[in-house]
């Protein structure tokens, strides 16, 4: 159970305060409601490039990191297809530095040409390091556009191609900032040994004077229902064959989400899970296989990813996956197995609450999904899942016509 208080500034900034007196550090988490899905198809990778630029100096503070480091803090950020999230953990005595730093970036960046030139290069190196110069690094560059034809989830956060990053201009950078970075498009969570009144006063002082901005209404194209199975076969200079299958599933905010999450656990959480037992240990079709969900806010994907045992054909490997899917859709999950995955999910949730930064991030994303209170409802929602519900969802999701398969062959 995470206790919290919530208030909103006049400019629209939502603030959540969680008090935890047991820790010497405060987590300061600022979530902006902008991600790769908000990019133009001709300028992909922009939300992520922008995250880098946020560390290149703001209007009144030349060096962001230096202030954090002097204050004994640590900071980082991540960009997903849905959000961009910035966080600082620092000694509670130095909390106000976080307010000064983050409010100044929200007010305005410095927009120095040097920062754009350097971060453009850094992001291109990141692109190479993680996606191009890495065996199987390009899997999501191939799979996403196969599964999504309309919705902007068709590109990963790093972007479709390096050229989009190479060609970004300062003008575009500025436009992106003013369209998405604003108090009325952000959620602030402060968690640690803090008082509500203290956070209220600091929020008013530092964020209060920032005017709200015109945020364009998000109007993303809905992905049309997939009617036909899609496949893609590639050959690469890699040591072994792998197969990926992606099925469209519900949105993170949908009531079916928790049951779908449990399906992925039944299939592949831990060594007693079905895929591991049947396909790795018994049939030895794969050396390793996973089933997982992307967890996107809009309608997302349910993935299977398997590394084939040498000598096994793609056809046999795929048939192995199909058999496991068939079991899920035709036979109800037993009581004991369902209890097991619920217990496991609930205990994972409880362990995640031991860390103050985790709690802050969970509160922020729950608030974005409509209500910070969701963070305390998760256990109940997992408990509510029935075997019938699981079967019903499996039948809907794992239709062959809803499948996107990537056959990734070793040369």
């Amino acid at each position: 159970m995470i206790n919290f208080e919530r208030f909103e500034l006049e400019n629209g900034l939502k603030v959540i305060v969680h008090q935890d007196k047991s820790t010497p550090i405060v987590a300061f988490n600022l979530l902006y409601d902008v991600g790769a899905r908000d990019e133009s198809p001709h300028r992909t990778g922009f939300a992520h490039l922008f995250e880098h630029l946020m560390f290149g100096g703001s209007i009144n503070i030349a060096d962001y990191d230096e202030v954090v480091e002097k204050a004994g803090g640590q900071n980082n950020a991540f960009t997903s297809n849905d959000i961009t999230n910035y966080y600082i953990t620092l000694p509670k005595e130095n909390l106000e530095h976080a307010f000064r730093l983050e409010s100044d970036r929200m007010l305005s960046l410095a927009f120095t040409p040097k920062s754009l030139e350097v971060q453009r290069q850094v992001v291109i190196e990141e692109f190479k390091q993680n996606y191009l110069n890495q065996p199987y690094g390009d899997v999501h560059l191939l799979l996403r556009p196969l599964a999504y034809q309309k919705h902007p989830y068709q590109w990963p956060t790093i972007g479709k191609e390096v050229s989009h990053i190479e060609e970004a201009t300062m003008e575009e950078v500025k436009n992106f900032f003013y369209a998405h970075y604003a108090p009325n498009n952000a959620i602030l969570v402060v968690a640690g040994d803090v008082e509500l009144n203290q956070v209220k006063a600091l929020s008013e002082k530092w964020f209060g004077p920032i005017p709200s901005r015109d945020i364009p209404t998000r109007n993303l194209p809905k992905e049309p229902r997939q009617e036909k199975a899609r496949t893609l076969k590639v050959e690469r200079d890699v040591p072994i064959d792998v197969i990926y299958k992606a099925f469209h599933m519900c949105a993170r905010t949908d009531s079916d989400f928790f049951a779908t999450d449990l399906i992925s656990d039944i299939l592949s959480r831990g060594n007693s899970s079905r895929l591991f037992k049947s396909l790795v240990k018994e049939q030895k079709l794969f050396s390793d296989i996973d089933a997982f969900i992307g967890g996107e806010l809009d309608e997302g994907l349910f993935y299977f990813a398997g590394k084939l045992t040498p000598g096994v054909s793609m056809k046999d490997a795929e048939a192995g996956i199909d058999t496991e899917i068939e079991k899920l859709t035709s036979v109800l999950v037993g009581e004991k197995e369902l209890r097991k995955v619920k217990n496991k999910a609930i205990s994972a949730h409880k362990f995640s609450e031991l860390n103050v930064l985790n709690k802050a991030i969970n509160l922020a994303t729950s608030e974005l999904m409509g209500d910070a209170k969701l963070v305390n409802k998760q256990i109940e929602l997992y408990e509510g899942v029935t075997a019938e519900k699981i079967q019903e969802i499996a039948q809907g999701v794992f239709k062959n016509t809803n499948s996107n398969t990537l056959y990734y062959h070793a040369k």
């Binding site: 047991s22 209007i59 803090g73 350097v118 971060q119 850094v122 065996p135 362990f351 031991l354």
Partner: protein, 424 residues
Amino acid sequence: MLDRKKEIHFQEINMPDFITPNSFQLTNGLQVCVMEGGGQELCRLDMVFEAGSKVQNKALQASLCNALLLEGTAQKKGEEIHESLDFYGAYTQLDVNSDRAVVSLFTLNKYFDKVLPIFIDALKNAVFPEDEFQVALAQKKQSFRINSEKVEFIARNTFFKSLFESHPYGFSASLEDFESISRQDLIDFHSAHYKNAVLKIYIAGMMPVNAESILNEYLGSWELKNPKSVCTYSPPVKNEKIHLSKDGAMQSAIRIGRVCFNTHHEDYQPLKFLSVVLGGYFGSRLMSNIREDKGLTYGIGAMCVQQEECGYFSISTEVKGESTQLALQEIYYELKRLREELIPDEELALVKNYIMGQVLKSADGPFAQVSLLKNMHIQGVGFEFYESYQNLLSQLDANVLNDLANKYLKEEDLCEIVVGNTSV
């Protein structure tokens, strides 16, 4: 009117209040160290065995033995063990490095009495069934083949080989080793280093009801042996340059470094501090120069790593292939600056605060604290280390660090490994 340009005063960061560890002994003399706190009804149990790869007789023995600890006893199949641990929502973690192995259990307290017996039984009575062994071996072999394609992996292995030569710290497996290892090798390793063990136990979180008697029941008869005394190893300092080209590599992996010493050496803490200045945080000199000024890399770091018999100092990065030479030149330039110029006071103060902040973060909750304590304990130091740590930091001035750079970071004392684009 709010003056946003004006810096706020930086409060001095004080040492956090660490939880005072308690300890008790089981009937066989096994020490259990407890860090109680967190207020939630869950706990973590860590068992630290002297079963690292340095004591293995054969490649892969330590890592495969560790990976297969929970995969079957004479009475139970691996999947039954996992089935019951999973049923109670418990998590396990198996880790091994060159010095030791850590086996951890995370559980809700209400199931502690159910989970612990299953976990301990599996660990103690592991028989490494042939089919489980084959599955794990195939898995490791595939990962190995994939990793062998990565420039970073090749550079790292080449680096350790160059530094530590024939010592186990310099060893990395080859594809043939996967053919010569057998199930019997794991059984032998298990009986020599797990069943009959040099073992330490740590519990963090809330103590479950009756924990002491439950632990005594299941761990109180574990056979213990005396720890061997540590023999330190001092290989020669070398100046080897190894450049390996890899076709089609867009980036080059670079490793530059040397052998050092273990944690008890008087220069360990100061050199560790110097490595933070050079490349241990976002605003460090290497990051500022090679990433933030020139954009040649996504990341670059320097570290001073302790190992029981001999530690090392290392700089590592992956850089734009065409700019490999420029990156090397700039790394040596930054090392030269450390040798020839005094570190400005402001930078020293910043790094000290940064390090204190990190200590504070390690005190965030009992799990974080036990990780820290455990790491120090196995090297033979306790939390009392931190009583003098602030004092130690305050004595590190620019002159001391400059002497240190001249003592350890001379260009002719460093090995250089480049894997990727070596054409320029």
